[in-house]
């Protein structure tokens, strides 16, 4: 594997290998004083974030540092990125400066694919840390890791993804990965927040949440972004919350073993009630913890092997 651009196309063996590696890494780091592995010593990892996301950037940064990589953060403010340099030139510059891996977050769908294309003849790996409305593969991997921790294998498990599927890269990555891992996915959203052609996705679609809950092993809530509230996708945040928010009543409709996931940052009281977010069923802090291990595993799979000659 040279790049991680999407979970679409990641096969079951590759996905499970990454998840198994993440488990091993978690185990290897358990209870240690020195949370640092020498594995990626001398390798340079650059994060390029064209959108603010402290949580994802920090997670990647910790992952790289715990593997002893040199991690350099390029943020869009105060760098050439904000001075109008093209993404292509920035990427080629970072590659020439010695980046072994570029981790990119970008508002344009496909930005990571474009980067991989420009770096085709080099040894530099690209990790997609979220591109527009397209994919966020490490988020899906950390969600899967969390579900495996709680539920064991995902084969035959049922997962509902609730909320703004249309604009969500997290939803797209999860639909691909969860179905690859054998789970049955149900998308729950108003028709305005579902993508065109969703009827041909390998999922079940519902516009209504209550009837779905009893049969789910997990519920994944998507963040509702502020601009959607004014975009006419639903009448009001109040109505959304009433129709789709995971509140205490709905939590009780879920089986006891069911897991509640949220990619964060959460809008408490909107898509998730505080009492649900803090319930034992919520795995939200585990998701964050697993995020580091999964990203370590991704870096391990991309960087700790023989370089294919480009």
């Amino acid at each position: 594997m040279k790049h991680l651009l999407s979970t679409d196309g990641l096969d079951r063996d590759q996905a499970i290998a990454i998840l198994d590696t993440a488990d091993r890494l978690k185990q290897a780091l358990l209870g240690r004083e020195v949370r640092k592995l020498p594995t990626l010593r001398g390798r340079t990892v650059i994060t390029m974030f064209y959108e603010n996301s402290t949580r994802t950037r920090v997670s990647f940064e910790i992952a790289g540092k715990w593997m002893s990589a040199d991690v350099i953060n390029v943020s869009s403010s105060g760098s050439s990125v904000s001075k109008g340099e093209s993404l292509r030139d920035t990427a080629l510059t970072l590659q020439a400066a010695g980046a072994d891996c570029v981790i990119v977050r970008h508002p344009a769908s496909g930005a990571a694919h474009r980067l991989a294309g420009w770096l085709k003849h080099t040894n530099t790996s690209v990790v997609n840390a979220g591109d527009g409305m397209h994919e966020h593969p490490t988020q899906a991997l950390l969600d899967a890791a969390t579900l495996r921790d709680r539920l064991g294998s995902l084969d035959g498990r049922r997962v509902a993804i609730v909320g703004d599927v249309l604009h969500s890269r997290v939803a797209r990555s999860n639909v691909h990965l969860l179905t690859t891992l054998g789970a049955e996915v149900t998308l729950v959203a108003p028709p305005t927040l579902l993508p065109t052609g969703v009827e041909n996705w390998p999922v079940t679609v519902s516009h209504e949440i209550d009837s779905q809950l009893a049969s789910q092993d997990a519920v994944m809530l998507l963040r509702v972004q502020a601009e959607r509230m004014t975009g006419g996708f639903f009448p009001s945040s109040r109505e959304y919350s009433i129709a789709y928010g995971l509140n205490e009543r709905r939590l009780k409709l879920l089986p006891e073993h069911a897991v509640v996931l949220h990619p964060g940052p959460m809008l408490r009281g909107m898509e998730i009630a505080s009492v649900v977010a803090d319930s034992p069923q919520a795995a939200i802090t585990e998701q964050v913890r697993n995020g580091v291990h999964v990203r370590m595993a991704v870096l391990y799979h991309l960087l700790a092997h023989e370089e294919e000659n480009a």
């Binding site: 496909g110 797209r172 065109t196 052609g197």
Partner: protein, 426 residues
Amino acid sequence: MKPLLLKGVRPYGEGEPQDILIRDGVIAEGTDENAEVVEGNGAVLLPGFVDLHTHLREPGREDTETIETGSKAAALGGYTAVFAMANTDPVADNAVIVEHVARRGQEVGLVDVHPVGAVTVGLKGEKLAELGTMANSKARVRVFSDDGHCVHDPLIMRRALEYSKSLNAVIAQHAEEPRLTVGAQAHEGENASRLGLQGWPAAAEESIVARDCILAKQVGARLHVCHVSTTGTADVLKWAKARGTEVSAEVTPHHLVLTDDRLATYDPVNKVNPPLRTQADVDALRQALADGTIDCVATDHAPHAVQDKDCEWSAARPGMLGLQTALGIVVETMVKTGLLDWRGVARVMSEKPAEIAGLTDQGRPIAVGEPANLVLVDPDASWTVNGAQLASIAGNTPFEGMELPAAVTATILRGRVTAVAGRIAE
């Protein structure tokens, strides 16, 4: 100017090869031993192509195309007249700019360059540009369009249609409902949905075309629909024509062959507005062009600099080169499929566009006494597209590496050879 003798050519690809003499820019009778000879070798002779929709980028983006390089591309593509769209910088919304474009076209002299005037000032859709002044200028503008932008305000569109009647002009609409296409990046369909590209719904085109057909019928004006891209638009046109609306329409070569399957690579060379649609749309557009629902082919030739294309999808400018590849695509999609014969090609690439734009010296029959604006096509040739070798400064062709059938052997503008065997004539 020496007479020109086209030896062994087949007008409209019909009958035995014959010789055609051209004297003083007009098709003449008989033969002339002193004539300059163009060997036809049985090639198909058609009226020179007319492109209602070309972006020549001058003034403003001469780094991507100039009137000179665009004229060369046109001549090499078999065109004898092109309509240069108004979205230049500054915008061609006044007599000064349109006269400049027309004059530069004449100076280059490879193809008749007819400037299209903007419908509204600065293409902003708010206030009518001085249509009459442009029509009465030396550029004699007869086609007005805000192409690149939709004249979305229904009242402004109504007034433009009404006003254009007195100028014997046509309003060419870029049909794109702006509220339905906020942030739109690609055809709203399964591919865009999977790739996370904001959708450009078919309804955004169809609703404007329907509205404008109704307006044109109501006020008794002529409407031309630019770059039809959907099945639904073809249906609307069929309905409007059936009820007597004076509406004409064009389709681009790329919408006759490419689909949104091209999105998968995120390579913006495939980004265009309106976007590449589905195979069902492609099939419907071919059928509509064959049965006359869509009147003609127009290239929407849109040169773009490397930096405006070799970037992330959403940052890229929409558009693709078309002048030199149009014939090959039309032959591939319409002739080889049996949907059009060579008379049909003459109709959709020359006669109809000339008629829509009110040109009296283009798209004429191949007959004695007619102006010699002609193109000679080798129907059996094939060639491989190489963007770097095209005459345009920009190289953004989506057909890179594709093998296309048929080649222009010669283009003749008023009796003078402008291009021959893939080269601009000296």
